[in-house]
């Protein structure tokens, strides 16, 4: 554990910038929104900004991504395929713990199943992660209900906590330790550790008064969602409010459905692109020929909440798929962000 002065904390980002592309929370001038984006200058990153509007998912799972390119010469009967994906080392600086939990879900899903995803692995293998403890919850947060905050437990290289005037720097890996030593940061003492615990406890206690938007006791509904013992009417009510925009899946730190297409780039060449997809879309499960086994919108919404809340999916992620960031509730044009869905299901259980 180390200590760094508040006005020097972005020096860590500067240091990382020498070796990595650095991503972090940046205030977008036009929209005045906090976005988690690539910072050309590490000085743009501000750790005091509120939770970013987008999770860091797009760094290792971009919305549009080329995974290979190929040429085919039909006249001479020749074809050539070339793997073509980005593997530049990237650093995520000032990531919130909910977003890190979402990323760990993706790690287990993309790398821990029967097949490992090569493209994802390339993004992930040289990544440096610096998390930032939320010493105060934001309006839409409910990470205390999903065990993913307000402070990260695992998966980071360095974890920062604002102690007022200075930051505690916790080390989570050898890579992180090396960087802290390279910057010759002063060691932290027991009092700093105690202060961090105090601040995390205070943050948790503030959820009642500050995080007013959402409450989601997901542990109460996991059983019902897994067994499917939920009245069809509840899903219909939820489906009725879905406008099929797909926004919830795009801002979700743990949603990872993708589509694959081959846009033509020349007379005899094409790319293979991987793009985000959403289970909200009607075409999601439609097969060639038009047969669609999952047509009604409530079936499709049911699918998303099954992914986030069921025990079977949790086994793949080794935790619930929902990480409590509250973004789906924030962007939903209806009223079916995950916390509300949990409320609807609980209401039905209590009947």
């Amino acid at each position: 554990m180390y200590i760094i002065k508040e006005d020097q904390v972005t020096n860590i980002a500067q240091e990382l910038h020498k070796e990595y592309q650095v991503y972090g929370p940046v205030l977008e001038k036009e929209t005045r929104q906090t976005m988690f984006v690539k910072a050309d200058d590490a000085g743009e990153i501000d750790l005091e900004l509120p939770i970013p509007a987008n999770p860091a998912k797009h760094v290792l799972f971009p919305q549009f991504e080329r995974i290979m390119s190929y040429t085919y010469d039909r006249k001479n009967k020749k074809a050539e395929i070339k793997p073509d994906f980005d593997d530049a080392p990237k650093a995520l600086f000032g990531m919130r713990s909910c977003d890190l939990s979402g990323m760990l879900c993706l790690d287990r899903f993309f790398l821990g199943q029967e097949f490992a995803d090569e493209v994802y692995r390339n993004h992930r293998k040289n990544m440096f992660i610096v998390t930032n403890t939320c010493v105060e919850p934001f309006k839409q947060c409910f990470c205390v209900c999903t065990d993913s905050g307000p402070s990260a437990h695992e998966g980071y290289d360095l974890n920062l906590t604002d102690l007022g005037g200075e930051y505690l720097v916790e080390v989570g890996s050898d890579k992180g330790k090396k960087l802290a030593e390279k910057m010759s940061l002063p060691k932290a003492g027991d009092s700093h550790k105690k202060e961090k615990e105090k601040r995390v406890d205070r943050s948790v206690s503030l959820f009642d008064s500050l995080a007013k938007d959402n409450k989601a006791w997901i542990s109460r509904v996991v059983n019902r969602v897994t067994t499917g013992l939920i009245d069809e009417k509840v899903w219909e009510y939820i489906g009725d409010q879905c406008l099929e925009c797909g926004a919830c899946t795009f801002v979700c730190p743990s949603c990872s459905c993708f589509n694959i297409m081959d846009p033509v780039t020349g007379a005899d060449s094409a790319d293979r692109m991987r793009t985000w997809d959403s289970c909200a879309y009607e075409g999601y499960s439609r097969m060639a020929g038009g047969h669609n086994p999952r047509k009604p919108v409530e079936d499709r919404r049911n699918k998303r909440f099954f992914c986030k809340l069921s025990y079977s999916q949790s086994k793949k992620y080794l935790r619930p798929g929902c990480v409590g960031c509250g973004r789906c509730a924030w962007v939903c044009p209806g009223d079916i962000g995950l916390p509300n869905v949990v409320t609807y299901i609980r209401r039905e259980i209590q009947k």
């Binding site: 074809a79 090569e118 990872s256 081959d262 094409a270 097969m287 086994p293 099954f306 079977s312 999916q313």
Partner: protein, 277 residues
């Protein structure tokens, strides 16, 4: 898996020969450019591959050849953008192949049992691999029955195989055509009605069913009515698939993914997954 890793990046194969099967259905015989002798990767009956048509896209398709000693081929119906483009190709053209993926048919569990195949139309394509395998190892199984339905005689798949199967000893073939047609002197009616007309073994029997949803449901009703248990009815499902390796999630049914947990399911599994066929 073979030494060539094609799970993400396809390997290139050459179309050696194209055979017209029925209207809109062609068989493409392939050799693999990067493998010794053009030999196909090892696969199990019931698995599938992802086939890239350059400049058009990629689609999932079942494997009809027997895994033992058959020329590697894909039988594809022209049904959408990518398969349309495949049908435009000629012998000598290249395609990309990833796979094989999926679980395959449970052959170890069915040794010594009677085997029933029920196929509707092009539902015979994914079953062909299994039929060829069982034919070659006839002594390991009990009675072998094939029930096949098609709209017209011209829409019967694999007519060159059917000829052999009809006369093969120990192999019972029953074929029906939906409506009477001049020149057809066989059975008429939907394929599930055939099951009523024949003495179908029930004890120690496994049934492979594949076909359009309406036919599937009618056949299931008939088979379970005869007393064949839900675990003994096996089918292979098709879904919208993009990756084949359990990542894109398009093929999810209930808590399973057709590409890695399927495509072969028992009817008991299909029922509890709670989605329509």
């Amino acid at each position: 898996m073979s030494e060539i890793n094609n799970t993400t990046i396809p390997e290139i194969a050459t179309i050696e020969e194209i055979k017209d099967e029925i209207v809109d259905v062609k068989t493409f015989y392939l050799s693999f450019d990067e493998r010794k002798g053009g030999k196909a990767p090892q696969f199990k009956s019931g698995q599938f591959v992802m086939c890239t048509v350059f400049g058009a896209g990629e689609f999932a398709v079942s494997l009809p050849p027997s895994p033992e000693n058959d020329r590697f081929h894909l039988t594809v119906r022209k049904v959408g953008k990518v398969t349309d483009a495949l049908h435009e190709l000629f012998a000598g053209d290249k395609v990309g192949i990833r796979g094989p993926f999926g679980n395959g048919f449970p052959f170890d569990e069915i040794k010594g049992k009677n085997v029933i195949y029920v196929a509707g139309g092009i539902g015979l394509i994914p079953l062909r691999s299994s039929i060829m395998h069982v034919m070659q190892n006839k002594e390991k199984f009990g009675r072998i029955l094939l029930f096949l339905g098609a709209r017209t005689p011209r829409e019967l798949m694999y007519q060159y195989n059917l000829k052999d199967w009809k006369t093969a000893p120990g192999f019972e073939t029953y074929i029906t055509i939906d409506n009477p047609v001049p020149g057809w002197d066989g059975e008429n009616g939907f394929v599930h009605t055939l099951l009523k007309k024949v003495d179908v073994p029930v004890k120690d029997t496994i049934a492979f069913v594949c076909g359009p949803p309406i036919m599937f449901n009618a056949v299931i009703k008939e088979l379970t009515g005869l007393g064949i248990s839900e675990e003994s009815i096996v089918s292979t499902l098709e879904r919208h698939m993009k990756c084949g390796i359990g990542k894109c999630q398009h093929c999810s049914i209930g808590r399973t993914l057709v590409c890695t947990d399927g495509p072969v399911y028992t009817y008991r599994q299909i029922k509890t997954l709670g989605e329509q066929i």
